[in-house]
Subunit: 466 residues, 2 copies
């Protein structure tokens, strides 16, 4: 197959040319022979598909050392692990109607005002006027401006403080690359596992200490019912970075204005930087802050990361943003935002333009209305779950400002409870200890689900724990 | 503004509540007073917008040290720098018809067979049946399978070796995070700046050495007309990682089968890992390899990263993939793909589902046909540019297997030629030295442009250099 320079090639075929396939084929045979002579037993034993990948069982290793930081990580990342257990359960009970209130994945369709804007943008890309190539790495100007005016009006956050992204998880990793391996970090215990895991990967931590279930050189800030899920800062050591998620995943608790003011003061006194994860801010009611920048002085000590995932069902569409105020400075006075901009320009090429069109539609009056309805729906689910566990005599936390219910099973192992619930009700939850040692004895029940499924799951919970 | 748990809130307003804005306002005044008392002169001098961000001029600095690796980077990332120069030129000549043959951004509309699939997927997200939340971090199974069969048929690359991403640039950064700071790397000189810059950011390099325009601890593999743009491997020191882009950006040259066989042998002898950037593979004609995996044994020493950007005009849609064969092992025998999977799961949540629907449409028979036509169109542009410079007596390279023409201006500074062309023809190109010191004396002319613009640019080149 060849493409000439001046003529379109109308012969459509797989791109690996037949000549190269033949070439490869010949060599595979040669390699196979070699393999058999080198390690005949292994080859015979492990080999499953000789015809397509005969080199699989060779003993060749590069001389590149495995990244020791990644080797420190424990088992699998939590949510894929839960996915595996769910899959195994479905194999075991092929006829069971499995309901997932586990990984916090949205289930409700995206409002049409938003998807029609994305469809329009997609179709427009087929026209000369509607086509656009590389966008600004930081996001489209109009979207950045609209994010600033919608979420940060009167808070002094401006369009150029906002970096649009493909989601908070990606931005958390980019923030770790930004700060590098020489900073220290604190994290709520329990917390969303990506903070700790990304910190381990970038090399900020020591080894995992099995006995206490913590990594060395991370400050775990215990958040339990005893301290109203807000760390006792008098016992927290100074770190460079403080990850703080509110409303919190997994506990569902939201820090009050007074608590956040304490946190900002703590950061300011220590010269620390807060990375504030506000992915659930729209679930907040009343005067509880929706942004860390509602706290005076926060712009000098905080970064905020946010997402459309849980407001508009964008978990699969992928769109979020991170605010790095120009007031935030390193110890030498250099603006953090300038370096973050460099990270974004070097390692990211902007969020999908179609997703950004969706984001803009989310922020139209109709889009905001529609997102409030989606959030309201999941909050109704939350209430149903809270009421169910409460009626069964459990102590539950969260569920007011967040789509997560944190159910206490005193004295029991979270994974045991997870397994019990899965085995007996076919409902997937998330074991609290997966979020950190202080999550032991809790199970997180997510309110993301179709109403029928939430009601059915609650019926089964009542059956199990009556 | 408050959202009750059980009732939808139909009052739509900016999310920062008015109460909190008032609260913030009060405190800003307090802060301002404080600022003035601390550093009155500075505050008075720098202050631009007291009403909205009165803290901007404060002297507060955190105690967090700036990441020393990022501080090593030189000036701006190349392409934003060119964007700035273009913008300055347009300010200077507001009436000029500026043509960009600079950053390699696609200009032609995306074929309808592809955008209609994306629009359909987007609209489907508003339905119960069509909605999907978090996808697999590695990409949708169907797309991975189709990528394997389309691009790697008979090459032994399987569905689970392929990680779908939001583009090659993001994957290059993720690969740097994968290998970490303790590996050494080699790169073609000249090359796409993201390889070197991402290596600097992750901490693999020494300081920038101004006299030789190179970073310490990077092996620059000179690729010039003298060596047919293929490094003299007998002079290249062993490194852990070898970045290799073919067809090459910026030189437009594509390594032959024999050259790539040498490269694979070199990697194998040294136990190195090749990161092969094949973003322009569809521009290749004849027997020149389109994938490193056409070379026998490459699966044990190579990773390949690829993209839909330059085939389907997806520069703004964002979709690519990276192949990490299960045969590729670290020195301790651990599979590299297992760690890459962990990186992807921890720091990425998959490419946009709408973009993935577009990717699948790209690989349908109609989509492949349409992509070949897009590629064919840009190759026609390339020929026009090659012929123009050749007719003017210039020696040009590239332009056969790639949409880039590498024009030689012997003895001249690349930035001077860039400026001369911009000033006198209003055409944006890219200075060769921006890709590395061996690019000095060259200018890259991109063939991405509407036909009229390419013809007009060539008319102006003929005027300037007649």
């Amino acid at each position: 197959m060849s493409f000439s320079v001046l003529h379109h090639n109308h012969h459509v075929a797989p791109l690996s040319s037949s000549s190269s396939s033949i070439f490869a084929q010949k060599t595979f045979t040669a390699l196979r022979t070699q393999v058999v002579s080198v390690a005949p037993k292994k080859a015979a034993g492990v080999c499953k598909c000789v015809a397509t990948s005969p080199t699989e069982q060779t003993a060749y290793k590069t001389k590149v050392s495995r990244n020791g930081n990644i080797a420190k990580l424990q088992a699998g990342y939590l949510f894929p692990e839960i996915g595996r257990r769910k899959a195994a359960h479905m194999l075991k009970y092929p006829d069971a109607q499995v309901i997932s209130l586990g990984i916090g994945d949205t289930t409700e369709p995206i409002p049409e005002v938003i998807t029609s804007a994305m469809a329009k943008r997609a179709l427009g890309l087929s026209t000369v006027e509607g086509y656009s190539g590389y966008g600004a790495e930081q996001g489209e100007k109009q979207l950045r401006a609209k994010l600033a005016s919608t979420f940060y009006a009167n808070l002094g956050i401006e369009e150029d403080d906002i970096f649009v992204s493909d989601g908070a998880k990606s931005d958390i990793s980019r923030l770790q690359v930004l700060f590098g391996s020489n900073v220290t970090m604190a994290v709520q215990d329990p917390s969303y596992p990506a903070y700790v895991d990304s910190s381990v990967i970038i090399g900020q931590t020591g080894e995992y200490q099995k006995d206490i279930e913590k990594f060395g050189n991370i400050e775990y800030m215990k958040c339990t019912p005893e301290n109203d899920f807000f760390p006792d800062l008098s016992k927290v050591s100074r770190t460079d970075i403080i990850f703080f998620c509110s409303p919190n995943n997994p506990t569902g608790s939201a820090a009050s204005r007074e608590q956040l003011a304490k946190l900002v003061k703590f950061a300011k006194d220590n010269g620390s930087i807060i990375i504030y994860d506000s992915a659930y801010a729209m679930y907040v009611s009343g005067d509880t802050p929706k942004s860390i920048f509602e706290i005076p002085g926060a712009k000098e000590v905080a970064i905020e990361t946010a997402s459309f995932s849980k407001y508009a069902g964008f978990t699969g569409v992928r769109l979020g943003w991170t605010v790095v105020p120009k007031e935030l400075k390193y110890s030498d006075g250099f603006p953090v935002a300038k370096d973050f901009n460099r990270i974004v320009c070097t390692g990211f090429n902007g969020a999908s333009n179609i997703a950004q069109a969706g984001g803009l539609a989310c922020l139209s009056p109709e889009g905001l209305q529609a997102m409030h309805e989606v959030v309201g729906f999941y909050k109704e689910n939350t209430k149903i779950i809270v009421d169910t566990f409460t009626s069964l005599g459990f102590t539950v936390y969260g569920g007011i400002h967040a789509p997560y219910v944190w159910v206490h099973f005193p004295g029991r192992s979270s994974w045991d409870v997870f397994s019990e619930i899965l085995e007996k009700t076919h409902v997937v939850t998330t074991p609290g200890s997966g979020f950190g040692p202080a999550g032991e004895g809790f199970v997180r029940v997510s309110a993301f689900g179709h109403r029928d499924n939430v009601l059915e799951a609650c019926r089964r919970f009542k059956e199990l724990y009556k």
